[in-house]
């Protein structure tokens, strides 16, 4: 039974402590973010309006001088930005006013030495005694886009989506939020677990797995106090919710028995890797790859097998993608089935590659790409499709549109045509994926270099990720295929 974290992520009312008139302080920033992102619950500020105590409001909010003054039952979440020495009394009082969850943003706890560790232990005991959810301490906060909740000391506030983030590093919460903002593949909940004194990454993942807003867990781990417990708990989650993990920091493995050869080969990373695979976790080696894996799991159907067909409008992209697929142990660059080859012959100009990658060699007409996408994705021998080489017409359109001759000389019409076609391609990719319930990934460097390209913008509007390169699409697809196989084998 997962711990109920609802008061943390969907609180009825939020209180921030440590609010002062200094706009650079955590209390002020948290209050600002809560008031600025659309949260509909009541927000209370507790602190000192200014050193002289003359102004009674901050950001046009009345400032309570003590949590005693909170209306009974008006708020469920307490965000603590006050110093260590004040917090136990504040939390005890707040619990008496109806607070059910506490996020301690304040530092000075176990990360700060022995005294801090003692204070942290008292905090945990207090939360236990009062039956409170305790998150942090020493964390950046939480976001919960479904209820427009931005209770964190940093930006950005990510768009709403299906990825639940729990991280032992606040900076990587921000990094995932930045990628979400960039790509439009949004976040359901995020939490910077801080010292994770009472609520661990596994606790968050378990709650995410039961959360109707969350389809994918994404976590960053630095250290595990009980690795075995983490393994058992995550293994119980992954059959229903994929979990992407990035692990940072190698720990010492030197204490292993010297007489054992097995021991000398058992580096922490290898054991962690085996553990992650056994638990069905998707392990990514970089933050960027982890986000793209999570975004893929959140937006693409699970493939039924490993066979991949690459579609490309021109040669080089396809060759590089084919290399990446061939080198990937979980993917198969499938030979085109005979009936698909015959059907493609009837549709494509004679110079097409007649092989996988399906290279149109620039021979497409207005309908070719949408029809081909549907036909290939619909073939039972194809499990996934990677579409490359889109965006060329959109790029041409941009230069023309911004050049000195537009809209005369017939340019307006052709520009409109190019842009319309790009949108059609992107929509056709999403449609083929939805219709045939298979992953269809679109990759182009334009995702990064020209995010305004109509193809890139249209991929985004279909709630899919436009991958910045064929290699990154292949890597993300590899994670998807491996996870699907793990799950199938245990179904």
């Amino acid at each position: 039974m997962a711990r109920d974290l609802t008061p943390l992520f969907e609180p009825r009312g939020v209180v921030v402590t440590g609010v002062s008139s200094h706009p650079g302080k955590f209390g002020f920033v948290t209050l600002h973010n809560l008031l600025s992102c659309g949260y509909q619950g009541e927000v209370f500020a507790v602190g000192r309006p200014d050193p002289e105590g003359t102004a009674a409001t901050i950001l046009s909010r009345p400032v309570l001088t003590s949590v005693d003054a909170l209306p009974e039952g008006a708020a469920e979440l307490l965000v603590v930005c006050t110093p260590v020495s004040a917090n136990e009394q504040i939390i005890r009082t707040a619990a008496g006013r109806g607070i059910r969850a506490v996020f301690v943003a304040a530092g000075g706890y176990s990360e700060a030495g022995e005294e801090g560790a003692k204070a942290e232990a008292r905090l945990v005991a207090l939360a236990d005694e009062l039956g409170l959810v305790l998150a942090g301490p020493n964390g950046q906060g939480i976001t919960s886009p479904p209820v427009d909740l931005c209770a964190q000391i940093v930006a950005p506030f990510p768009p709403r989506g299906r990825i639940g983030v729990a991280s032992q590093s606040g900076n990587f919460v921000s990094a995932f939020q930045n990628y979400a903002t960039q790509t439009g593949i949004g976040i359901s909940r995020s939490v910077s677990a801080g010292n994770a004194a009472a609520t661990s990454i596994a606790d968050y993942l378990e709650w995410f797995a039961d959360d109707p807003e969350t389809n994918v867990g994404l976590c960053y781990l630095e250290g595990l106090t009980d690795g075995r417990d983490f393994f058992e708990r995550v293994r119980a989650i992954t059959p229903r919710m994929p979990v992407v993990v990035v692990k940072g920091g190698a720990t010492s493995g030197g204490q292993r028995a010297a007489a054992s050869h097995t021991g000398s080969l058992a580096s922490d990373d290898r054991v962690f890797d085996g553990m992650a695979r056994q638990a069905g976790m998707v392990r990514a080696m970089t933050i960027e790859a982890a986000f793209e894996a999570a975004a893929t799991l959140a937006t693409q159907p699970l493939p039924g097998g490993s066979s991949v067909v690459v579609l490309t409008t021109a040669g080089g992209w396809g060759v590089v993608a084919a290399d990446a697929i061939t080198a990937h142990r979980d993917l198969t660059l499938t030979t085109l089935p005979d009936d698909l080859l015959t059907a493609a012959d009837a549709m494509l100009p004679p110079r097409w590659s007649r092989n996988n990658p399906v290279d149109l060699a620039g021979g497409e007409t207005r309908e070719t790409i949408p029809e081909l996408l549907d036909m290939v994705a619909g073939h039972p021998g194809v499990d996934s499709v990677v579409q490359l080489g889109l965006g060329i017409q959109g790029n041409t359109a941009a230069l023309t549109r911004n050049g000195p001759f537009h809209p005369d000389h017939g340019l307006e019409r052709i520009v409109d045509f190019h842009e319309r076609q790009e949108r059609r391609y992107a929509e056709a990719a999403a449609d083929a994926s939805t219709t045939h319930d298979k992953p269809v990934l679109v990759a182009s460097e334009l995702a990064v270099t020209q995010p305004g390209n109509p193809m890139v913008a249209a991929v985004r509007s279909t709630d899919r990720l436009c991958y910045p390169s064929a290699d990154r699409a292949v890597a993300a697809l590899g994670h998807l295929v491996r996870y699907a196989a793990w799950r199938r084998a245990r179904a």
């Binding site: 204490q255 292993r256 058992a266 922490d268 085996g274």
Partner: protein, 212 residues
């Protein structure tokens, strides 16, 4: 920590389901020769005892013996090489298993994750190649098969130099057996090094169990 003799290690892992090469113990050179004749030549003779963990380094292994006389000669030398600190010793005679492919498998207790089963590519280059993978014990059969799939050198596990593919079911049995042994808290670690693949069958030709 203490180690078990190879004979005791073999008995323990074989009882759990690990495939080991055919073997017998003997207390003198004549009995070693009798045992060798019973199992057929060529054989290996080793000096065996609780205090002898690293036989090869001390030259206590005689390979490819093809006659009873050779066995008697080797056994006599090995018994003569025993030192006071070796304690009680005996001779271990086993079938000489030859194969081009060597694997290594074992059980280790990880400080974070507890007991783990390892499988790797063995042989003299094992540590340099470092093609190894782990699973947490105990293993379900599916875990064992996925552990085998994790090795980078999959071509080594397929048909190889005129030999059939490695029998993955037998290998999975061995891996599951190692995982099951983790429930014995007195076992600190196990090395099966090497597992030689003979006509597709992986079998342990040495075993070392370390007690907590």
């Amino acid at each position: 920590m203490s180690t078990l003799s190879e004979a005791d290690s073999r008995t323990l892992v074989a009882a759990a389901g690990v495939t080991v090469s055919r073997w017998a113990t003997a207390d003198d050179a004549d009995n070693a020769a009798v045992a060798a004749e019973e199992m057929g030549f060529p054989v290996v003779v080793k000096l065996c005892g609780d205090a002898i963990a690293h036989k090869s380094e001390r030259g206590l292994v005689r390979l490819s013996l093809t006659s009873a006389d050779d066995v008697r000669g080797a056994a006599t030398e090995l018994l003569g090489a025993a030192t006071e600190s070796d304690g009680d010793v005996e001779l271990l005679v086993s079938t000489m298993v030859s194969g081009d492919r060597e694997l290594i498998a074992g059980l280790v207790r990880d400080p974070q994750f507890g007991p783990c089963v390892m499988l790797g590519v063995g042989g003299v280059l094992a540590e340099a190649v470092a093609d190894v993978a782990f699973r947490l014990a105990p293993l379900e059969r599916l875990d064992a098969h996925e552990l085998i799939d994790d090795l980078g050198a999959q071509t080594l596990l397929g048909p190889f130099r005129g030999q059939p593919a490695v029998d993955r079911d037998v290998l999975a049995d061995t891996l599951c057996a190692l995982g099951d042994l983790a429930s014995d808290p007195t076992i600190a670690s196990i090395d099966l090094n090497p597992l030689i693949v003979f006509e597709g069958q992986p079998m342990a030709v040495d075993a070392l169990v370390e007690r907590t």
